[in-house]
Structures are given as structure tokens and as C-alpha cells.
Subunit: 411 residues, 2 copies
């Protein structure tokens, strides 16, 4: 089964918006075992849209077209599909009523052109819109199929998951349910992870189901995704559970979470479970650790606050760091203890390091000291050496420090 | 003149990497007045690469192919181009020597497959590599042209700017120099900006040179880009200066910088020019303002530090904020004065607000109070209402607060 992708929008070609939709669709298709071999961006031009969609349909079994379903005269996807199907556009009463209701529910007058979004090529079926005003479309073309979805990412994602992937699987003759599970890791390179999981990978290659994929997410670590096919969801989940267990046994030291968990959500959950609050003292990361923790709604239960002790004098005066080199094991430990005291938190986390452009206190760019001060007065302090330029080094410092805290909490 | 773009790489189709290269190329081509009407992603498959490149060459005057120039057997762009040109690949001695020298200068043994990167289709010319090992290629195909560049963004960007855009302009018969200038704005919607600049836009439409484009950059504001063509760089710059002056007269209140300047770099420069240091007290943004300021290398000259006073007790105890509602005009003002005292800075910047998910102190989600405490003891405090969910509201708060500080410094 092959499904290509066409993203519509002149703004994509002009670089005003980066086309992240087709990447996301490609990832989902791959997880479902469907090939996506060509992905195209084309502007809001009827002739070129028709020509591109025809080319893709000639080669692939199915095509997802993304965007161009809005209410304005630039939104030409409906017209392009009608031309390819050789049919007229008709107003779909149910869709029309739904659009009218959305406006009247908000007490707003509906601009007339919104009714364009209720037009459906004759013979196509509708993927009901649950979030926006434009519905998706499933459009048979001979023995192939064109799917149209809005360009708004969360609307597109909803329709792809809910309607298009199941429809593609049904067409491919598969009655399988597909379930994925992501194990999130930090602290190992992709090649290192590959080496440590080689036996399991070989075994999986033999059985063919579930499949395993590595997804590198830069300074978020590497995701290990298991995808299983089975006739029921329970069977698929059981299959995944069995292999997840094997992977956990092989690399338990680097797995910090699953699926939608993030390093910050995991750390906050661990603290909350223990009834502990947190204070953060940062130098090299300049506030990014606190910023990341507070990106989680509800973090205020655990997170009391932070001190960005950028100038050395702030470290000495406010955090009681002894005079001396401020990029050092002792300075990090003093900062962690100091911030516990100053902010009255149960746990203190501190970072000091060198992001560049030049060395500091005789320490090279990339040096990071992380310290965790625990409620019982003990502390854990680590010295790391991180790669990269200023921005990358700082971002790696954030997740590395949170991982040090996570390990201290689970030690 | 039309130049399409083909990005090569199976990892792009699988969504493991987002194709940002073609967006960047599209933006540069548009600025040079060259149309880019179709952009394609295709995997590392020789047959499909050849077919896609032929399709693009049939429609466009030129094609940029990006990626697939590395040393491994998956890197097939050279072979695809040779097939399209109907020629053999030959080793280019100069390129080969350069690759050998790069390895020997680093004292590293060169893996043999690196010599693949010295292969050039007969009749093609080389764009010298200045940063990586793979050179770019300029490959005539009939009266059209194929350009090959590496997929590594900074190598691609260097070659596009240095060699490809000038070559495209020369081929289009234009001996023009193209110069762009970006004016960065904050605080006006795209439609509002459009309305305020309507007379200038109409006038520019009449003369045709320079051209004006709006580039929305989300929570970084809207960029106004002027692009002028002239026979010399001085003439192009003079033309831009004349229209920049008119735009500045129309919307001087919202222009905060030009070209590569950012809101944080502008604020740091203003403080440095006055010889003042800065301390930041943040609640709603949880460290992001400090994090953003310290992303600028050299910020330590100005930035002393920050207090992330997330829990109310931290505001009261550490910043001396009077007991009472902490999302308020008075709390923001106390925080700004308090952080000046605690961190010993000349200027204090404070933010308190509600990012959600629920209201606080009777203030709805989206409320932001920003206060600036000046060295003379005076203060500027503003109450803003920002749109969006948690993440968007927090990011808008960061740049809004820095803009309040900028205005206070230039008042």
C-alpha cells in the first residue's frame, strides 16, 4: 500500500510556513506499514494542483491532500478534486447546518463564503469536522482514493488518525488494529542504543510483528517505538507489553518515560508522589530549567521558584556560594543547598557551566556541573561534558540536569 | 524565471527530519524575484529521483536538488544527475585533493568511500565546498540547469547565496544586484500593519522596485522585508533607504529592530549603551525571559540574574511583595523594585500573570502585568491581555515584556 502526500499553499513555497504536516503524516503512515514515497508542496493554483494530484494518483494507491479547504477564493482543493473525479460540487446539508450552528452558537454573523466549506464533490464522503469548520473528504477515483484534510495541524491530525489510517488499512485488506507504544530514553546515542538492543532487533526482524523504530528527537533524546498489528486492540497491547518488557530489561537505566511523558512531567510527578517541593538555581541555562518545568500545567504544586544566578556576585550574595571558581563541583553543591534555603523548598537543583563562546574558570566550553540537594541534607553532584554551540549546549544542559534529578529521586 | 526544489532523503518522508531546506530556499528565491512553484520530497531511490528531477526540469527553468551528496551508498544524487545529463561521473582532482587535505589536517584516516564525493558528472561545474566535504554542482541540461547542494543547512545556505542565486540571475539575463532589508515589528497584526502601510504599498506596486513583503514569524512579530534590484549594491541600498524612511515614518512606534536583530539583542544593547545592569523577576513565564536574554552571547555584561517567584510565598518573602493578590499592578511594581534591590541591578523587569488553565486572583487566563523599575526610582507598569493557550500566552508574555522594557529605555 502506497500513499503519497500533497501539501497545498503558496505560503509553503515562499517559506513563510514550514510544511510540518506532511512529515507528521509520513511518520503515521510508516507506523501503519504504509509507504509514502513522494511528498509534494504546490501553491494555490487550480491547474497545478490538478496536475500534481493526477501525477501522484498515477503512481500511488492513495493520496492525502492537505490544505486548501478554507472559505476563501484561494482555497481550491474541493474544485481540484471535483475536476479529477469528473463530477460537480454539491452542498452537503449536514455540513452546512453544522457550520451555521458553529457561528450562531458563538453569536457571530457568518460571512457568506463559509458555505463554500459545505461543498462536497458528488460521490465523495465526508469526514466530520470535530474541531474546525471544514470537513475532510474521502474521494474515490477509479480503484484509488484521494483524502482531503484541512491544513490546520490539529484538525488534520484528528482526521488522519480517526478516519484515514483506518480507511487505508481496510482498503489494504487488513482488518488489523494498529497500536504503538513509545519508550523515551535519555543518555545513549542512537548507535549505542542500537548495539544494546541488537539481539531484540534481530529477534523482532524474525517475527515481523511488532516492529521497532528509533526516532531521534535531538535534545529530547531517542524514542523507541514499538508498533503492533493484531485483530483486537487487547491482543496488540499484549504483544507490545511482552516486547516492552524485554527492552526494559536490556536498557532500563536510560528509559525515563513512555508515550506523551516528558522529562519535566516525569520529574514533577516523582516529586509530587513524594510530597516534595523544588527550587532551582541556574547559571549557564539562565532560566531555561525553570521555564521548562513551568511549561507543565499544575507544576505550581511542586515548583516553588528559581534563582537565575548569572553574575558571580548573585551566587555569592544570594546563594551563599563561597568565593572561588563558580564553575566547579563545590559551587554547584553550594548553589543547590543555597536555593533550598532561600526558597524554602524540600529539594534543590543547581546548574553551573560554560556555554561559551569562551572558557571560564579554566573550564572548557561544554562543562556542566549539576547538583541535587535532598531533603535529608545529602547531595548528588555530577560533572558532565556536553557538545555543541551555545544554544545546543544550554538545551542539553536542561534535560541532562532534569535527568540527574530524576535519578536522584529514584535512587 | 522558475526554479523548483527537490529535497532528497527517505528520512524526510518518514518524518524523522522536517524538510526546512526547501522552505528556506523558497524564501530566498522569492526575494530574488524567482518563482518556485513545486517543491518535492523524494527518498534515496535512484529511479524515483531521476523521474522526479526530469518532471521538475520539464516544467521549470532550473531545479535545486538538496541532499544525497554524502559519501555512503545511499547518496545517489550524483548518479541521478549523470543519468539525466547522459554522461559519466569523473573524479575531480581538485575536489579530491581538498577532501584528502581535510582529513589529514585533522590527523584522521579517510574512509575510502569519501572519494565518492569527488565524483562530478562530465560537463558539470563545481561549487567549491567551504565548510563540509561535499562540493555543490552546477549541471547544464539542454538550455536548463540542475543545481545540487548538500542537505546540511549551513552548507546549502552558503552555496545558494554565494553561487546559485547569482547564477540564476545571470541566466535570467539580469545583471542586477539584489539587496534585502528587514524591519522587525512588534505590536500590530498583519492586517493592521497592511492597513497602516496601504499608501506605501500602493505606491510601491506602481514603481515595482523595491518590493515589499510581510513575513509573519508567530510570537516573534511581523517582519517587513524590502527587496531592491539595481545595477550596483550602492544603488540598491540607496533605493531601500529611501523607502525604509517612509515606512519608519508611518509605523515608527512598532519597529524594534532590523535584519538579524532580535528583541532581546536590542534590549541588551540599549542597556549596555546606558551602562545599566538588569535583574528580572518572573512568575507566569517561569524563567523564560531570563532564558531568552541569556541566549545572547555576551549578555553577562548587562544581565545580573533573575528570580523565578512562582509560589506566592517567594514573592512575599524574597521580593517583598505586600500580602494580597499577586496578579496585579501593585504586585508587578513591587516585584520590579524588589528584584532591583535583591540582585543589585540598575533596572528591574517584572512579570506576573495568568497562563491558565484556570483564572487566578479573579484575573482571567491571558492577563499579564509588566513593570519596569528604573534607576531613578520611577517605574512603568502595563496591563496586557494576551490570547492563546498556556504555551502561546507565555511566549507572547516574554516578547511583550521585553518590548515594554525597550519602550521604557527609549522613552
Amino acid at each position: 500500500m502506497r500513499c503519497d502526500v500533497v501539501a497545498i499553499g503558496t505560503e509553503l513555497l515562499l517559506g513563510q510556513i514550514v510544511d510540518t504536516n506532511s512529515s507528521w503524516i509520513g511518520e503515521q503512515l510508516a507506523a501503519a506499514g504504509i509507504d509514502s514515497l513522494v511528498q509534494v508542496k504546490v501553491g494555490d493554483n487550480l491547474g497545478r494542483m490538478v496536475s500534481m494530484l493526477r501525477d501522484r494518483l498515477a503512481e500511488a494507491d492513495a493520496v492525502v491532500v492537505c490544505g486548501g479547504l478554507g472559505p476563501t477564493h484561494d482555497d481550491l482543493t474541493r474544485e481540484a478534486i471535483a475536476e479529477i473525479m469528473g463530477v460537480e460540487l454539491e452542498e452537503d446539508e449536514e455540513v452546512a447546518e453544522r457550520i451555521l450552528n458553529m457561528f450562531s452558537a458563538r453569536g457571530r454573523r457568518m460571512p457568506a463564503n463559509n458555505m463554500r466549506q459545505a461543498l462536497v464533490p458528488k460521490g465523495a464522503s465526508v469526514i466530520a469536522q470535530t474541531r474546525g469548520t471544514a470537513p475532510g473528504l474521502i474521494c474515490p477515483v477509479g480503484n484509488k482514493v484521494l483524502y482531503a484534510v484541512p491544513g490546520v495541524p490539529h484538525e488534520m491530525q484528528d482526521m488522519l488518525t480517526r478516519a484515514i489510517i483506518p480507511d487505508l488499512l481496510a482498503r489494504s485488506g487488513s482488518s488489523s488494529i494498529i497500536v504503538s507504544r513509545v519508550l523515551r530514553t535519555w543518555g545513549e546515542s542512537e548507535s549505542g542504543l542500537n548495539e544494546r538492543l541488537q539481539d531484540i532487533i534481530d529477534e523482532l526482524d524474525g517475527v515481523g510483528n511488532p516492529t521497532l523504530a528509533f526516532l531521534a528527537s535531538g535534545w529530547e533524546g531517542i524514542k523507541v517505538r514499538l508498533t503492533a498489528k493484531a485483530s483486537t486492540e487487547d491482543d496488540a497491547r499484549a504483544l507490545i507489553a511482552q516486547w516492552e518488557q524485554k527492552i526494559r530489561e536490556a536498557v532500563s537505566d536510560i528509559i525515563f518515560g513512555t508515550d506523551d511523558q516528558t522529562m519535566e512531567s516525569v520529574v514533577l510527578d516523582l516529586l509530587e508522589a513524594r510530597g516534595w517541593t523544588l527550587g532551582v538555581a541556574e547559571s549557564v541555562t539562565g532560566g531555561l530549567v525553570s521555564g521548562r518545568l513551568t511549561s507543565v500545567a499544575g507544576s505550581s504544586v511542586v515548583f516553588r521558584g528559581g534563582i537565575v544566578s548569572y553574575a558571580s556576585a548573585v551566587k555569592h550574595d544570594l546563594l551563599d556560594v563561597p568565593v572561588g571558581p563558580v564553575v566547579s563541583h563545590d559551587a554547584a553543591e553550594s548553589m543547590a543547598r543555597g536555593v533550598r534555603t532561600v526558597l524554602g523548598s524540600d529539594v534543590g537543583l543547581a546548574l553551573t557551566g560554560v556555554a561559551g563562546p569562551t572558557e571560564q574558570d579554566g573550564q572548557p566550553v561544554g562543562t556542566l556541573f549539576v547538583s541535587v540537594a535532598m531533603p535529608d541534607g545529602s547531595s548528588h553532584t555530577h560533572n558532565l561534558r556536553l557538545p555543541g554551540q551555545r544554544d545546543q549546549m544550554r538545551q542539553l544542559s536542561v534535560i541532562s540536569a532534569l535527568d540527574v534529578l530524576r535519578r536522584a529521586l529514584t535512587a
